[in-house]
């Protein structure tokens, strides 16, 4: 496996505001990576840098290319949905498919039509007549039909109902994803993506604060429902966070051996959301 994205010391400043502050990370081929961070942590700037949409300092290679200078070649291999990208109001479903087929060498028309058949979209429909969710459905159908090596999704399911969101992630996993593709995804709806992710990256204040595969996360982080009599002993091991569920303390530990923790009470693997909340506690302080 080779690295699809290598980033070293990415830095970006908007006036006095620091968006990226020396972020470094690697993304391997054939992974589904969740880039998770609070608002204003530099998520979108990172994605923009990868897509060649913003100037920045530092070293960045995407599929062996520099997004700053080789953007056009890169766009043959990379596909993205930016959270703010909106299809133009005058675009018809049929025209959208024709156009992308015309300009994109890796577009599979049959696939796009198959996805669209699962929606209420009709070929003559214009974007201005669509609900917000339908616009996203069209956009996703177009993007999913492109055989890109790297797919970047920035809040892809914003405005979609739960049925379609589930279906989308299922399609993404079953039809789209394979070992030759890499998906980089950011979303605030962590619960919905955590079971499809293979890797996790937390970004905080312009730095990558955690980068690990989901297996490593499972090994490293443990949640314990601590029995009342072990409270003092457990606290001594410096849990990342502590909350109370049904009158019992739930503590989250980083890098503490499971064997040792199992004495205190029932063990669980923490959800990404819990992990996120625990590690980002200081973010708004």
């Amino acid at each position: 496996m080779s690295a699809i994205i290598t980033a070293a010391n990415l830095a970006k400043r908007y006036g006095k505001q620091t968006a990226l502050d020396g972020a470094s990370f690697n993304v391997e081929a054939g992974r589904i990576v969740g880039l998770i961070g609070p608002n204003g942590s530099g998520k979108t700037t990172t994605l923009k840098a990868i897509l060649g949409l913003t100037p920045f300092e530092g070293e960045l290679s995407v599929l062996g290319m520099d997004p700053r200078t080789q953007r056009e070649a890169l766009m043959n291999e990379v596909c993205f949905i930016a959270d703010v990208a909106i299809l133009p109001r005058w675009l018809k479903v049929r025209d959208a498919i024709d156009f992308v087929e015309g300009v994109h060498p890796r577009f599979d028309r049959a696939k796009a039509e198959k996805y669209i058949a699962n929606t209420k979209l009709t070929p003559d429909m214009k974007v201005k007549a669509m609900s917000k969710g339908m616009v996203v459905q069209l956009h996703l159908a177009l993007v999913m039909a492109i055989d890109a090596k790297l797919l970047v999704l920035d809040e892809p399911t914003l405005g979609l109902d739960i049925l379609y969101r589930k279906q989308f992630y299922q399609n993404l996993l079953e039809d789209y994803f394979d070992e030759n593709k890499t998906i980089l995804i950011t979303t605030h709806q962590i619960e919905e993506v955590e079971h499809i992710l293979t890797d996790l990256m937390f970004i905080e204040n312009g730095k990558i604060s955690l980068a690990a595969s989901m297996d490593e996360v499972g090994e490293r982080f443990t949640e314990v429902m601590v029995e009342p009599q072990f409270m003092a002993a457990a606290s001594a091991l410096q849990p990342l966070s502590q909350r109370t569920v049904f009158g019992k303390a739930v503590m989250l530990f980083d890098g503490v051996h499971r064997q040792q923790l199992s004495n205190f009470g029932e063990l669980r693997t923490p959800s990404v959301a819990d992990l996120f909340v625990a590690t980002m506690k200081g973010s708004y302080a």
Binding site: I86, P88, D98
Partner: protein, 315 residues
């Protein structure tokens, strides 16, 4: 090449209402007026000494002269369409690179493997080639309709002009001459189109104000500076010239006005037919330096527009 075809189609989808249906509507309106005046006007009946004679016979030299004039001038009926074209091209260019930023579809277009250069070229082609060709086509069709109506009118009064008009070489040459003026139009329109595309790629909002206000205020400043500092430049000439060239270059035939000092229509002196005279005069404007300076400035501004689309970051 294939990409360019789809980009042009894309522009057509977006601007069909403006670039096709507006000139069609204007052509239809003008044609209806013209037809109404032909068929309903006083000329419907010829009266002589109170008697309705109803028929008129035109023969000989007069007949040839009328046929020639009709064959040369029928495209002139389409002039309103060509005048509207300048407005359409003006506003098309002004919005070409601004709308996609305003409605935030820019990131969608940028997610496809189409370079910024190709995209801007498609918009340029649309403005200086496709839109004028559409307008010319409509103008010619409209001219034909009006001329046919006139011929039918004459035929109803006993003079059949169809054969005479159709046998005039000018009847076929006039549309070709019109298309033959397209390269001249492109070169003279470049400074205006370049300026508008550049403003369109730069302004956050109020593109029209930027496009028109900048040269106007710039001119006023220059005139004021000349008055106060008196640096010996013909500020009035510079201001008027630059403002005209970057705002009015999209008007068809503007070149005849911009270079009227050097180009005299040969029509009067040499008895050349008017369409020929216009055609020759138009091409001869390319002999001057002014058109090429303007075109070079236009190309430079288009290059800036490409750079802006590539590197400008949207908030």
């Amino acid at each position: 090449m294939k990409t360019m075809k789809w980009l042009i189609k894309r522009e057509m989808w977006e601007n069909k209402g403006m670039l096709l249906w507006t000139p069609v509507a204007i052509a239809v309106a003008v044609a209806v007026l013209a037809l109404a005046s032909i068929f309903l006007g006083k000329s419907g009946n010829f009266e002589m000494n109170g008697h309705n004679i109803g028929t008129v016979t035109i023969e000989g030299a007069m007949r040839a002269r009328i046929a020639e004039t009709m064959a040369q001038a029928y495209v002139g009926a389409g002039m309103p369409v060509l005048m509207v074209l300048s407005l359409l091209v003006f506003f098309y260019c002004l919005n070409a690179l601004h709308d996609e930023r305003r409605d935030r579809s820019l990131l969608f277009w940028k997610s496809l493997p189409v370079s910024d250069f190709t995209t801007v070229m498609s918009k340029l082609l649309m403005a200086v080639v496709v839109a004028p060709l559409i307008a010319m086509g409509i103008a010619v069709v409209m001219g034909l309709v009006v001329m046919l109506a006139a011929c039918v009118m004459l035929a109803m009064h006993g003079t059949n002009m169809f054969g005479a008009v159709l046998s005039q070489p000018d009847f076929y040459l006039t549309p070709l001459r019109l298309v033959g003026l397209l390269p001249v139009y492109v070169l003279w329109a470049l400074p205006t189109v370049g300026w508008l595309l550049m403003v369109s790629s730069m302004a956050r909002s109020k593109v029209f104000l930027w496009a028109v206000g900048t040269p106007v205020i710039g001119s006023l400043l220059l005139l004021w500076a000349e008055k106060v500092l008196n640096f010996g430049l013909d500020a009035g000439w510079i201001a008027a010239h630059i403002t005209n060239r970057i705002l009015l270059g999209v008007v068809p035939g503007s070149w005849l006005i911009f270079s009227k000092d050097t180009i005299a229509l040969a029509h009067d002196e040499h008895k050349i037919a008017l369409p020929d005279a216009i055609f020759n005069a138009s091409w001869s404007t390319l002999g001057g330096a002014s058109v090429w300076i303007g075109a070079a400035a236009g190309v430079a501004m288009i290059a800036i527009a490409v750079y802006m689309r590539r590197h400008r970051e949207e908030a």
